[in-house]
Amino acid sequence: MAEVLVYVDHVDGAVRKPTLELLTLARRIGEPVAVALGPGAENTAAALAEHGAVKVLTHDAAEYADYLVVPKVDALQAAYDAVSPAAVLVPSSAEGKEIAARLAVRIGSGIITDATDLEAGDEGPVATQSAFAASFTTKSRIAKGVPVITVKPNSAAVEAAPAAGAVEALAVVFSEKATGTKVTARTPRASTGRPELTEAAIVVSGGRGVNGAENFSVIENLADSLGAAVGASRAAVDAGWYPHTNQVGQTGKSVSPQLYIASGISGAIQHRAGMQTSKTIVAINKDAEAPIFDLVDYGVVGDLFDVVPQLTEEIKTRKG
């Protein structure tokens, strides 16, 4: 069976959920061979094996932390050369897309980004993508070279599928360009204790209607009652009420959770571009004419400061 390279996104050995989802998709088109780089790379092996990796190629060097992107491209290319895979899959993070793009040019391949599904096809893997603020769904494949595809979080269920997961050291020789962009300082983002926005199964977002930074606690309380991530519309971010890292939309993050709850968000096209692929959509808004109500599975026309706290209390009660 053909081997499929899967680039591993991990933090000090803890594999992030989108990579585990990627292994599910990789098994549809071949045998997953995982590539884990940087500090803690070897510690990823158990989780990767549990989810279907037949092999785990690992390598650590200071270059991965000290320089931007290119050392990781060099390593992925080394894995590509060693394995000769039928496809290369990378999580659709900002960095993941950059790594995949540079690899594609180097190996003379096409690239598909932000796939939301992947199936085996007669002429190679067929990727589903959404276009134009998710108003269209396209199916595409790679026409030249070995398919390089990046996949969005929440595109597949995480499935256990125990495999050998044999750890092998990857030999990497860094290119001259690897040290071109130096990382001179790194400040880890303070953890909120909430799930990461793009990976979360439930996202609770607030917009203009929240009307002030101090009021965002209403949104956060609802999110915490559901174990959800907190999002914000561009209006709320531009007003300085919530950090840009939490912005959902065309110029922010694209989310595709099982449940999306929009509070005080009208639903401009720019916001819809970032959340329209959510499976179930709920909105709370005073304005019955707000365009967000065209998208919802359930909508409440009302004041979010009445509805959201009542909802939060009810959820807490039901969860006991």
Binding site: L68, T138, I142, T187, I202, H244
Partner: protein, 261 residues
Amino acid sequence: MSLRIVVTVKYVPDATGDRHFADDLTVDRDDVDGLLSELDEYAVEQALQIADAADDAEITVLTVGPEDAKDALRKALSMGADKAIHVEDDDLHGTDAIGTSLVLAKAIEKAGFDLVVSGMASTDGTAGIVPALLAERLGVPQVTLLSEVSVEDGVVKGRRDGDTASEQLQASLPAVVSVTDQSGEARYPSFKGIMAAKKKPVQSWDLEDLEIEADEVGLAGAWTKVDSATERPARTAGTIVKDEGEGGKQLAEFLAGQKFI
């Protein structure tokens, strides 16, 4: 020594229009108004600020696209860019991101550059990979997704805010930079700027000028193939209730029914 800045921009269909695909599954450009991609305005703005801080700098704005794409160049020129290059060729129709990066890289090399500034992504394709592709093809450092950027003594510095950390980056010129919408509001063109833009030079290059073969680009030469594009069926109308004191509880009931609680 003049700092040569090239800003790559894209002419995109207006997101508030009825965007759709043409019969050949490329983006239909005839039925929707086009404009300079909003995210590229931030690139033009940062290029202008970098040029202002330099002793001597020249900003060339570059686009690849059909005749109408000149509108995007005009907007950038009216904001303050010095000159423009329009790469236009019938054989470019249907070119994908990999092909576009090839054309842009050849044009940037031909124009001559110390710094390339791009937006973080286009507002139509939204992939966000062209800046990295340009850095790879040009063989220069990528300093991408910056919310802050500055250039001094041949060194570009910037801040990149990622999922898990915020990083300070540094590279020597020549380099490719991309900036996010957090880099600073883009200026509006002044009346004076709009009038001045009419007199600024816009060069037109075709594939032959860039020594690119027709089969390396366009729909036939694309590295990816779109097999189908289906309009998402309109969502079946959801349940909408008016809050008369029990809205939160009713919503909880719905969420419980969907097994979210």
